[in-house]
Amino acid sequence: MNSLTKKKFRLFDFVLYGLIYISAFLSVLLVAGIIGYVFIKGIQTVNFEFLTTVTSALKGTVGIAGNIVNTLYIIVLTLFIATPIGIGAAIYLNEYAKPGKFVRLVEFTTETLAGIPSIIFGLFGWVFFGNTFGLGYSILTGALTLTLMILPLITRNTQEALKTVPASYRSGALGIGATKWYMIRTILLPSAMPGIVTGVILAIGRIVGESAALLFTAGSGYLLPKSFFGKIFESGGTLTIQLYLSMQKGEYKTAFGIACVLLIIVLLINIAAKYMAGKFDVNKEKK
């Protein structure tokens, strides 16, 4: 007999609950497993020498200092180009453009750009920046290619951030006589800053983890730069590229060492993005 106080036992429900829990904890298990495995295998490789020297058969050292520097170069250069453009595009879409065909086209292309796989970016960057522009395998070629790749990420995050700024801020500023650009500069951008910074941090994560787009553009150089600005036009492999190359050569010890370093960077970036996103929420509550 069914009663209101006693829940009927449904086998189907029970099985589905089980499946839901298993699926959800698969992700947790995977992450824990991956991090654990990589750290156990790689942590003894990571030491001061590994981080501060360059692999050299002559000196008998194995190190990734060059790759770390290359990664930093690419991050800074890419953000230097992509951030202003991405933010500008978001401001245009949100504040200037009137809804219509052009805006839809811009949004469609942003969407498309986000969907193009990195290997295609790699091929394009190689022939476009590398051959047509004559930049060859260089940090600059890589950075320009990655710029196109992370542009949608920055644009979208900035757009989202701008959308959360209340309309009253805008009308208030315009009402007391500020011009549009002045209003954007002094009211909108500061209010949207946490969201924009979150986008930039996520973009850094993307750059650090990228490999397919860099293989044919930035090349695989692993030496330390001889001159600060000259390096931009030289080939430079990032950590991920070096990891791939070591893997290909079967140098798994080095590979796991680099994987360890990469995971630590990814963890830090995740924490930073979380922190910024949290700050963003506080702002929202204040209004």
Binding site: R10, D13, Y17, L19, I20, S23, A24, L26, S27, V28, L30, V31, I34, Y37, V38, K41, I85, G88, A89, I91, Y92, Y96, A97, L105, V106, T109, E111, T112, L113, G115, I116, P117, I119, I120, F121, L123, V127, F128, L148, L151, P152, T179, K180, W181, I184, G205, G209, E210, S211, A212, L215, L243, Y244, M247, Y252, A259, L262, L263, V266, N270
Partner: protein, 340 residues
């Protein structure tokens, strides 16, 4: 005194501009400062800055369009020569891939098959797990458990693809090799692969699309209006019945979006599977060493020359066409979702 003077002048802007020089001379620095503050004094520069700002932002907006157009153009320009050289049917519908032989053949049929089959299988494994995880996060999970699962999913998305590849080689491939040895024991026709096979690649891909599927399905489930859920529960349906018969159907278009994005991610992934999937072109059977569209480009571009290199660009073009088809469909799905 000077304050009152400038107030009067505001009403006659043209005179102000002409008198400007005189005023400055007469009243020294004080007047000049007043001019800076006045609305009219700098209106010309201000409007110039305004127009420039608007223009610069518009240019930023068009860069995305320029990028997509030039990528499309370059992919076509670089992909076509090989088609002319070798012939479209020879490339697309022949299965013999011997680019470095004395009598080279450039048939990519098996490579295309592999990409399609591999993506399909990865979706088949990844989507159910992803959707169920999304259900967990949006409906079932008690708060403390959400705090463990959500960061895990975020991290899963952030792990670089080469690390997935590394783990695939170190963990999946040996495991697959053991299974392979057992299944094909005594077989004389099977080519042993050492575990680099389609299944390994599919498993890696399935894991890699999980975060995409989970995130998008979750937000789709969350956007289902609450009254649907309440009505269903009010009619006496159990929570599970409500989720599977009301909420998931209501979130259909969002979940389809998740699947389409997952397909895009899986078909475009290169580095993670390039070493895991093996290195020979074969028909996509589970234990065959296979080559995807992406991995063919990654692993052969380094040494390819002449026609071989141009055919690899054609492979890139084929991949690009696939991606564009997926993107256009995605756009349709999104529009449909908006209309509903």
């Amino acid at each position: 005194m000077s304050g009152a003077l400038s107030l009067i002048q505001i009403k006659a802007p043209k005179i102000l501009i002409r008198n400007d020089i005189v005023c400055k001379k007469e009243l020294n620095g004080e007047m000049r400062d007043m001019n800076k503050e006045s609305i009219i004094g700098s209106s010309r520069t201000k409007s110039t800055i305004e127009t420039a700002a608007g223009f610069i932002f518009a240019v930023c907006g068009t860069i995305g369009i320029v990028a997509v157009v030039s990528i499309t153009l370059y992919m076509i320009l670089n992909g076509l020569p090989a088609i002319q050289e070798v012939g479209l049917t020879e490339i697309l519908f022949s299965s013999v891939w011997t680019p470095t032989a004395a009598d080279p053949h450039y048939g990519i049929l098996y490579i295309i098959f592999t990409s399609i089959v591999g993506t399909f299988l990865a979706i088949l494994i990844g989507v159910p797990i992803g959707v169920l995880s999304a259900v967990f996060l949006s409906e079932v999970a008690p708060k403390p458990l959400t705090k463990i699962v959500r960061p895990a999913v975020e991290l899963l998305a952030g792990i670089p693809s080469v690390i997935y590849g590394l783990l695939g080689i170190m963990i999946l491939n040996p495991l697959m090799y053991q299974i392979e040895l057992k299944i094909f024991e005594g077989s004389t026709t099977h080519q042993f692969t050492g575990g680099s096979n389609l299944i390994s690649a599919v498993l890696v891909l399935a894991i890699m699309i999980l975060p995409t599927v989970i995130n998008i399905s979750e937000s789709a489930l969350r956007s289902v209006p609450n009254y649907l859920k309440e009505a269903s529960l009010g009619l006496g349906a159990s929570k599970i019945q409500t989720i599977f018969k009301v909420q998931i159907p209501a979130a259909k278009s969002g979940i389809v979006t998740a699947i389409v994005l997952g397909v895009g991610r899986a078909i475009g992934e290169a580095m993670a599977i390039s070493l895991v999937a093996g290195s020979s072109v074969n028909f996509p059977l589970p234990f065959n060493s296979v080559r995807f569209l992406t991995t063919a480009i990654v692993s052969e571009m380094g040494y390819a020359v002449d026609t071989h290199r141009r055919v690899l660009f054609t492979i890139g073009l084929v991949l690009f066409v696939f991606i564009m088809i997926i993107n256009l469909n995605l756009n349709k799905v999104l529009k449909k979702g908006e209309e509903e």
